[in-house]
């Protein structure tokens, strides 16, 4: 393309200098670097994981004995509502976003995401939304309607505190964050791949994240509508869920689950992607049936839209709907089964290295299989009318979410830690971490299947002694086992935190390619330089990095795969052709300013609309500053832009 000099306003707003700090807190707060943003996503998500974990432990303590009094009924309801909300929206999704932010550009061979400032905006919106949501604890109590927030129980009449207002507005803010980030990542993947990186050469993690972003793109507006309806009802007196005026409470359920079911795949697919990276690396062979795994991921994403009403088999939909959704739900088990078969066959015939990351990945295969199979038992609609809203369901989806998604994220921590921080996590502590979590998950969630089938419903602050039964299936016994298990999981997580601290303190650097890895993100320094690659690599095949290291060599025993170049040599070859000029977007004040406006508006909606006006003013200031700021500044240490339209962003036009 032609390089034409384009004029750049000298200073944003003519008042502020661009932030230029390369170190210290300013280098983080105003950063637009996808890697720093990824790390910040990870840290904040981990914080919320601990918050949600404490909520879970309190719930388990309350349920450890009949008619227990650790928590009051009101507090218990807030606790399980916020446990689910926190884990789903403030831990699993943003942690997946952390991985996606950090590794997507690296895996496709790009220097950043398509819209770096929007990326920063997403992060700050998520952080402020999460904090806003949790301030409800100190402002009259958190939401108490369950994470599914069924109407009309969520109306002001039935939940007079501000908890649900915080929940609705907080999720709205977090939703905007996810929507912006989904657009950003889709554009990055579709448009910014390195030369030769065809769609079917992309690493599976990138593929799964891409599917997830499309799910987010289309699922979020639906929950946005539902949340608007609810907040208009609670705050401005609209009639949407007012049964006296003829409202149908099932409207909320449909809107919620049309979002809520794709949400399940939004949660699980990134981890599927992670373990699809980890398993081949440590089995030293490519993912078995790459195309099948990719297509089944896409199929799950697609069919996932047609099964939402299986959350409503007891809602009274009528037999025709129930039958249709029951069959559709069974259908989705097929691509899921394909994935499990492929992972298992990836191990088959390999040369398995049981690192901690690998153990977590194998743990996911095992635990997710259990969760998937118990899922099939409730696809059978009549059986589901027995199982739904009991602990059987709680056991099922925790196997999927903790056993599948969370264990997968931990596999990712151990696998990519040396890439991100340049140091290897301690493997010994890692094994402790794994086994504690693995046994913890089974001890906590397997008994829940029994509890549910013995008739213990969910969301009950107490269960009575007279309904516990005797013998092997005694409810009290299994409730106590589950509580013990939850503390095992907690101690596993504690091991991880200890590991992080121990690793941070040690001086020893990780080798460049500690796992003999296969994909592009390893074909650069650890941690990567700010511009990721000295030269954008040209891709020839799936597992590009592996094929640069290994070649088939004829020996006297026939052709053998032999390591012909070390990672260092591969990297040196790349560095030799380093681009002379690399330019990166400049840091910016505006993402954080703009993001800050939204919680202020939200507090205003709850307390005083004048405050909303202030928030809106901050928002407008943010947009104004953003639009007038070129994405690369003249007065910064960065070179001014020279391309014609390259530096424009979505936001630069409004």
């Amino acid at each position: 393309m032609a390089l034409i000099a384009s004029p750049t306003p000298t200073q944003s707003l003519g008042v502020f200098r661009r932030p230029v700090a390369a170190t210290g807190w300013r280098s983080w707060v105003f950063t637009v670097d996808h890697k720093k943003i990824g790390i910040m996503y990870g840290v904040v998500a981990m914080f919320f994981f601990l918050v949600g974990g404490c909520e879970a432990l309190l719930i388990r303590l309350q349920l450890a004995a009949p008619d227990n009094t650790v928590l009051s009924a009101g507090l218990y309801n807030e606790m399980f509502t916020m446990h689910a909300t926190t884990m789903v929206f403030l831990f699993v999704m943003p942690m997946a976003a952390a991985f996606a932010n950090y590794f997507l550009p690296l895996q496709v061979g790009a220097r950043d995401v398509a819209f770096p400032r929007l990326n920063a905006l997403s992060f700050w919106l998520f952080l402020f939304g999460g904090v806003f949501l949790n301030t409800s604890w100190f402002l009259g109590g958190a939401a108490d309607g369950g994470w599914f927030m069924y109407s009309p129980n969520s109306s002001r009449l039935f939940s007079p505190s501000h908890g649900i207002d915080f929940w609705v507005l907080g999720l709205q803010i977090i939703g905007i964050a996810s929507l912006v980030s989904s657009i950003n990542l889709i554009v990055t993947v579709l448009n910014m791949r390195a030369p030769g990186m065809k769609l079917m050469n992309m690493p599976v993690f990138t593929w799964m994240v891409l599917v997830v972003q499309f799910l987010l793109l289309f699922a979020l507006p639906v929950i946005t509508v539902a949340l608007f309806l609810l907040s208009f009802q609670r705050n401005f007196g609209a009639a949407f869920f007012d049964v006296d005026k003829g409202a149908d409470p099932l409207l909320w359920q449909h809107l919620f689950w049309i979002f809520g079911h794709p949400e399940v795949y939004i949660i699980i697919l990134p981890s599927f992607g992670i373990i699809s990276e980890v398993l081949p690396t440590f089995a030293r062979k490519p993912l078995f049936g790459y195309k099948f795994v990719v297509f089944s991921g896409a199929a799950i994403g697609f069919v996932g839209w047609g099964v939402w009403a299986h959350h409503m088999f007891a809602s009274g939909l009528g037999p025709v709907s129930v039958a249709v959704f029951s069959v559709a739900t069974m259908l989705i088990a097929i691509p899921t089964g394909v994935k499990i078969c492929n992972w298992t066959l990836t191990l088959w015939g390999g040369k398995l290295w049981f690192s901690t990351a690998m153990m977590f990945a194998i743990g996911v295969i095992v635990l997710f299989t259990i969760g998937g199979l118990s899922g099939v038992t409730h696809a059978v609609a009549p059986a589901d009318t027995q199982q739904t809203d009991t602990y059987h369901i709680v056991g099922h989806f925790h196997y999927v979410i903790v056993g599948g998604a969370v264990m997968g994220l931990f596999a990712g921590f151990y696998y990519w830690w040396p890439k991100v921080f340049g140091k290897l996590l301690n493997e010994r502590l890692g094994k402790w971490n794994f086994w504690l979590m693995f046994f913890g998950v089974n001890l906590t969630f397997a008994p829940m299947h029994i509890l549910g089938m013995q008739g213990q419903p969910r969301r009950m602050v107490v269960w009575p002694e007279k309904l516990t039964g005797e013998g092997f299936f005694n409810l009290q016994f299994w409730n106590q086992i589950a509580t013990v298990g939850s503390f095992l999981i907690a101690s596993g997580v504690f091991m991880f935190l200890v590991n992080v601290v121990v690793t941070a303190k040690k001086a020893e650097k990780a080798p460049l390619d500690p796992w003999d890895a296969r994909t592009l993100e390893w074909m650069t320094a650890s941690p990567p330089k700010e511009h990721n690659f000295d030269t954008i690599p040209t891709v020839h095949s799936l597992d590009e990095f592996f094929h640069r290291k290994y070649e088939e060599v004829d020996t006297d025993k026939g052709p053998r795969l032999v390591k012909v170049r070390s990672a260092e040599e591969v990297l040196a070859a790349e560095e030799a052709k380093a681009d002379a000029h690399i330019h990166l977007p400049s840091p910016s004040y505006w993402p954080i300013v703009l993001a800050f406006g939204l919680p202020v508006i939200a507090y205003g909606v709850i307390y005083n609309l004048l405050l909303s006006v202030v928030g809106a003013a901050i928002l407008l200031l943010g947009i104004f500053g953003w639009v007038l700021e070129p994405s690369v500044a003249e007065d910064s240490d960065y070179d001014p832009p020279t391309g014609e339209s390259e530096t424009k962003e979505l936001s630069s036009v409004g």
Binding site: M1, S6, V20, A22, T23, G24, S27, K35, I39, A110, R111, A114, F115, P116, S182, I183, V187, L190, N191, M192, R193, L217, F218, P221, V222, T224, V225, F232, F236, A238, A239, F240, D242, K245, G246, A247, L251, F421, P527, K529, E530, H531, I536, H581, I582, H583, L584, P585, V627, Y638, D639, T642, S645, E646, T647, K648, E649, L650, V653, G654
Partner: protein, 208 residues
């Protein structure tokens, strides 16, 4: 991480722009993002329209859509909005020709037509309110005001973008500098128009 100095990255070649590796899809990042955003918006309006369709007959003994709507007035304002799509096309054309003067002219006309539409909607809302149909009156009224209100807000944002664009182009030092931005506003504007065609048909024309 902190040891990575920002200064290292010095340069000429922009890798964030569409031309970085020769945009693979052939659509620039900005436009692709706008298309994706509009795809998402389809489901937003889909949800709102479904809610309205479910609730449009539920107004108890109060005023319903049949008695309320003033079809001639809304037809005129719909026509105005449709015409604005035409002027938007002219603006985009002018921008592609790097004709800043005509670009601004047509952008301003488009904005004006949009503002007229919003004005008509405000008038309509006020009239309904005086007939006793407020936001909280019935399920029908809540969902009607929410659906058309959301659309009105979209048009208003569009008008603000158009006028801001006029201001920005007036400061253009290089003719046609903002052509892509104009094109993106055009995409947004056409989308909002198409949504109105759907809303007008479903809400106003097809009887409950």
């Amino acid at each position: 991480m902190a040891d990575i100095a920002v200064h290292e990255s010095v340069t000429s070649h922009d890798d964030h722009g569409p031309a970085a590796h020769g945009s693979i899809t052939g659509i620039s990042n900005n436009k692709l993002a706008m298309w994706l955003f509009l795809g998402s918006e389809c489901l937003l309006f889909g949800g709102l329209i479904s809610t309205y369709m479910l609730y449009r007959g539920r107004h108890g003994s109060g005023v319903g859509p049949a008695q309320l709507f003033d079809i001639p007035l809304t037809s005129v304002s719909s026509f105005v909005l449709l015409m604005s799509s035409l002027t938007m096309v002219l603006a985009v054309n002018a921008a592609k020709r790097k004709d800043d003067r005509n670009t601004n002219l047509w952008l301003a006309v488009t904005g004006l037509l949009g503002a007229l539409f919003v004005g008509a909607q405000v008038y309509e809302f006020t009239a309904f309110y005086h007939e006793g149909v407020g936001f909280t009156t019935s399920l029908f009224s809540s969902s009607f005001f929410t659906l058309t209100g959301f659309h009105g807000v979209h048009v208003s944002i569009g008008v603000i973008m158009l006028l801001a664009m006029v201001a920005i182009i007036s400061r253009n030092k290089v003719a046609g500098d903002k052509a892509e931005a104009v094109e993106m506003i055009g995409l947004y504007w056409h989308f909002v128009d198409v949504v109105w065609v759907v809303i007008f048909t479903l809400v106003y024309l097809i009887p409950a």
